[in-house]
């Protein structure tokens, strides 16, 4: 079936996302005065779901899998569709679908919500392109395609000072890191003479005198990745942006955009700068990632532990989770058979994270929609008024903390086991310690919702609406978080197959 279809159809998940975004723009242009929040949300959700279905179908059919003719390359090798790309596209499409559904209720009284949906879809298109990029030039263009709509999305509530401030900060740090990233690419090009990953890789084997130039370039690319994944030392924007942005946007950025950073990192560092050749040239980027991972997870978790606002806590926890996922790169060692296991585990963690973290931020979106406060205390007794949503939130919190029986436990377990198998006991140990710390602040949310009494008897009277779409998105994310535990087998198999193709 897939062998008959022309090669470009392999890009259809990304094309579907892009076309949906264009269609939204078109409708908005033709009927600019129509406040059609619902139809916009429906169209975006359908587009994201269509993209998701095609992606899942491709994964099942084996498109780009080594058993079915291997990766499909297009445009002179600048674009490559393989299992890795499809795996991450599935994450992006799922998160996008959840976010646009939830946004329908969040922006119910917004003047012009149309821009939100098209920007989200365009950013998702950029992410899908990032996943298939096989050349540093495509990576940069796609990265900008993700970033530019994201800046606008963060500042989307233009009458809200927090939102605008967050957008500006995000933009400034983003512009800086884009420049650093681009400069890194140019240095790598200067040293290797190519932008295509495979050619860069063969040039890295014989760098000789240019090793220094390439090394500086690679470090700069690490910086660019650190920005996109909100890792130390380019994490400063994340708490501000996630806190100030409308909650659905925070969900989108902290789940999908972060995963997009990781797909770049996974592909660039395994295919363009293979570890063996890089270490031989004196560029041990795995060590750099080990340091970044250790600092990121520790800083993220400890900073989250002292927050008073739920959204800000989630922002720092998102930094902490970037640290966990970085183990997928940090715990690699040359020629080790365990490499695909640990990177596959990191990918599976990002998938699980896509559901549990998106769900948590969407719960915050619901709280903002209800108009209750932002701190832990404001959530006190919430479970009495909204038991279903609070149960879902409890699932997210326990899963983020890595507590059985939720999927977050499974993915962390695989990640740490993979790290230990590869000889990185210290990273796994640090991860375990951080998980214990994280249980403290995640359980504060649960405690507030279920055990504490409301500050005043009338504190929860504001909860007078049941935003159906938000509820649906939150509950769906919770169900997925639970069901990913028994269904973890296919996920980890797909992830490991995707990782295996990189080594």
């Amino acid at each position: 079936m897939s062998s008959v279809a022309p090669a470009w159809t392999a890009l259809s998940p990304a094309l579907l996302l892009g076309l949906t975004g264009l269609a939204l723009l078109l409708v908005d242009t033709i009927r600019p005065n129509e406040r059609s929040n619902t139809s916009m949300a429906v169209v975006s959700a359908l587009g994201a779901l269509a993209s998701l279905s095609v992606t899942v179908w491709f994964v099942i059919a084996g498109t780009g899998h080594a058993d079915a003719g291997g990766a499909i390359t297009l445009l002179e090798g600048a674009v490559k569709v393989d299992t890795l790309a499809l795996f991450f596209t599935a994450i992006f499409a799922s998160v996008t679908a959840l976010v646009v559904v939830a946004a329908h209720d969040y922006f119910h009284d917004h003047q012009r919500p149309a821009a939100f949906y098209s920007l989200t879809l365009f950013a998702a298109t950029g992410m899908a392109l990032l996943a298939v990029a096989n050349s540093l030039a495509v990576v940069f263009v796609a990265l900008e395609m993700v970033s530019l709509p994201s800046y606008a999305l963060v500042a989307f509530l233009k009458k809200d000072r927090g939102s605008v401030e967050a957008g500006l900060k995000y933009f400034l740090v983003g512009a800086l890191s884009s420049a650093v990233f681009l400069f890194g690419i140019s240095l790598v090009y200067a040293a290797t003479g190519s932008l295509i990953f495979g050619e860069v890789a063969s040039a890295v084997e014989s760098l000789d005198a240019l090793a220094g130039v390439a090394g500086v370039g690679i470090v700069m690319i690490v910086g660019g990745v650190a920005f996109k994944t909100a890792s130390v030392p380019f994490h400063f924007w994340a708490p501000e942006a996630y806190e100030g942005a409308p909650a659905p946007v925070s969900a989108f950025l902290s789940s999908a955009s972060k995963a997009a950073g990781f797909v770049v990192a996974f592909r660039v560092f395994t295919e363009a700068f293979p570890l063996g050749a890089s270490v031989a040239a004196g560029i041990d980027w795995a060590l750099a990632f080990a340091v970044v991972a250790a600092v990121t997870m520790t800083l993220g978790n400890f900073a989250a532990a002292v927050q008073e606002e739920v959204k800000r806590m989630l922002a720092y926890s998102s930094i902490g989770h970037a640290g966990y996922a970085l183990i997928g790169l940090a715990a690699l060692s040359t020629g080790s058979a365990g490499n695909e296991a640990v990177m596959g585990a990191a990918m599976a963690h990002l998938l699980v994270y896509g559901f549990m973290n998106t769900g948590a931020f969407l719960f915050v979106a619901m709280a903002e929609r209800w108009g209750i406060g932002r701190t832990f205390e404001d959530y006190a007794g919430l479970a009495r008024r909204a038991p279903v949503a609070c149960t879902a939130m409890a699932v997210f919190m326990f899963s983020l903390a890595g507590l059985p029986p939720f999927a977050g436990f499974f993915s962390k377990y695989f990640l740490f086991m993979g790290a230990i198998e590869n000889g990185f006991l210290w990273l796994a140990g640090l991860g375990a310690v951080n998980s214990v710390v994280s249980l403290y602040y995640y359980s504060r949310v649960v405690r507030a919702m279920f055990l504490d009494d409301p500050a005043t008897p009338s504190a929860l009277d504001a909860i007078d609406v049941r935003p159906t779409a938000l509820y649906a998105a939150v509950v769906f994310a919770a169900v997925a978080t639970v069901l990913l535990l028994p269904g973890f087998g296919p996920v980890i198999e797909a992830a490991e197959a995707a990782a295996a193709a990189l080594f």
Partner: protein
């Protein structure tokens, strides 16, 4: 498939009850919880296991499906029963309906959530006792904590938040320690295991499959793992000095939750000790026999003395659980047929008796709204049936012959007294027996003060007999205790069959 059906049905029942209206959630939960009990009776009737599931015996109702693979090791859905786990499964399914019945009176808010969580906990408990794959077992083991946290934290007494969080933190930290201990053991086993199935790991350990890992020699690794797991499970049991979460949790928990906490959750700890420490690493267990026996005796005596000093009826029963668990530990460490078998039997017996005691104290509390010994007297006049059963239960606790407690303790003492592998076994046994005297002391004195004599209690309402649905579970429990005391062989046969391979795992060189 039958075990999957049992666990799956209980999960579904939890979900159904969670969505049911508060008004009849209690009745629905009771009706639904009768089904797993019937199922466990059916399992009992069809039970055909021989030997111990971990040491190569035939496993009853075995079912295994591959789940995922990690680091070259398969993780599977692997469940089955042997003579040690079946009695505990029956105990769990038997206690839950009774606990639900005893919740009808005290639980008066958010009922559907309460009963849903009770059933959710039951499903996970069944998973703990049936799982034969470490990973699966750990998932269930941890999943028990979540409903317990909410059950104590939402429906508990005045200091419920403190108690719930203390329980959660203590047991979670302990689980982590145990998890690290066990996982380092599996890493050190290297290529000699291809899965995380408990029988396979037990076999590999017995065959000396441990290798040097991260510079730790096999002998040292086994000892580190033993200590880490022992410390982890000791919190759950609990053993002095890590018992301090227990009285808080018990006192704050509502009656039905206390029943399950004392009746089943504590047995998770002793069950895991038997399965992991004493079955998998018997050599280390016998090396450490003297210190373990010493802390067992300390738990017995110190727990009983703490109970002696309490004024709150629930605290008295809670501390006496610490004491009873000391007997179980003593039975395990002596490594004799009657010691290990008696310890397992005592788990079931104590589950029934402590369940009865907590329930009876709860019924009295429902009427008096106080549990302080000094606040009331002569309750026997107003609640004759309840008090009668409470007294009978207390005698069961003291080890009155023909009741289950007697059989359990008797087996343990018989097994412990002449234990060849434990030096000074008679001394330890004699000291532990002394604990019974203290138990009799505090139970008799507390009963005399509160139950007998002229009636005295300041209330602005009349105290009468408890409603039928409060008393019925008490009577059923008492009947079960007597049946098990008169005919201990209904469980002890199969327990002994499963315990023998564990005992034979220790080579005694006298």
């Amino acid at each position: 498939m039958i075990l999957e059906a049992l666990i799956g049905f209980t999960f579904l029942a939890a979900l159904v009850v969670l969505l049911a209206p508060n008004a009849w959630a209690g009745r629905l939960a009771f009706a639904l919880s009768a089904v797993p009990f019937a199922g466990s009776l059916y399992l009992w009737s069809q039970f055909d296991a021989v030997g111990n599931a971990l040491t190569g015996g035939t496993i009853a109702f075995e079912s295994r499906y591959e789940w995922v693979e990690v680091g070259g090791r398969t993780v599977s859905w692997f469940v089955g029963l042997d003579g040690i786990s079946l009695p505990l499964v029956v105990l769990t399914t038997f206690l839950v309906p009774l606990a639900i019945l005893s919740a009808w009176t005290p639980v008066d808010s958010r009922q559907s959530q309460f009963y849903g969580l009770m059933l959710f906990m039951e499903a996970n408990l069944l998973g703990v006792f049936t799982a034969l794959d470490f990973f699966l077992w750990f998932v269930f083991w941890e999943a028990v904590l979540v409903p317990m946290y909410f059950l104590i934290g939402i429906w508990g007494g005045p200091r419920r938040k403190y108690a719930a969080i203390k329980f959660f933190v203590y047991t979670n930290a302990a689980s982590l320690l145990m998890f690290i201990g066990f996982m380092s053991l599996t890493f050190a086993l290297g290529d000699s295991i291809g899965s995380l199935a408990l029988p396979e790991i037990t076999q590999a350990l017995a065959d000396g499959g441990l290798e040097t890992w991260f510079g730790i020699s096999p002998g040292r690794m086994a000892m580190i793992a033993f200590l880490a797991m022992f410390a982890g499970f000791a919190v759950k049991v609990p053993i002095v000095p890590v018992h301090t979460w227990l009285p808080d949790a018990h006192v704050e928990a509502p009656t039905p939750v206390s029943v399950l906490l004392a009746g089943v959750l504590l047995k998770m700890g002793t069950y895991a000790l038997l399965r992991f420490n004493f079955t998998m690493l018997p050599e280390q267990a016998s090396t450490l026999a003297i210190p373990i026996a010493a802390i067992a005796v300390i738990s017995v005596i110190y727990g009983a003395m703490l109970a002696l000093a309490q004024k709150d009826l629930k605290r008295i029963v809670a501390y006496s659980s610490v004491s009873s668990m000391g007997y179980v530990l003593l039975g395990l460490v002596v490594f004799t047929e009657y010691g290990v078998g008696g310890a397992t039997f005592q788990m079931v017996a104590h589950g029934l008796i402590s369940g009865l005691m907590f329930m009876a104290v709860g019924v009295v509390y429902n009427a008096t709204h106080t549990r302080m010994v000094g606040d009331m007297a002569g309750m026997a006049d107003r609640m004759p049936v309840t008090v009668g059963i409470l007294v009978a239960g207390a005698f069961g606790y003291m080890g009155l012959p023909l009741m289950a407690g007697f059989a359990g303790e008797f087996f343990i003492f018989v097994g412990a007294f002449g234990a060849p592998s434990l030096p000074y076994a008679p001394v330890f046994t004699a000291l532990a027996m002394f604990g019974i005297v203290i138990v009799a002391g505090y139970l008799l004195s507390a009963m005399q003060k509160t139950l007998f004599g002229p009636f005295r209690l300041e209330t602005d309402y009349e105290i009468g007999p408890a409603p039928f649905h409060d008393v019925a579970p008490l009577a059923v429990l008492l009947a079960a205790i007597i049946v098990l005391g008169v005919a201990p062989d209904i469980f002890f046969e199969m327990i002994r069959d499963a315990a023998m391979p564990v005992v034979e795992g220790v080579s005694v060189d006298v």
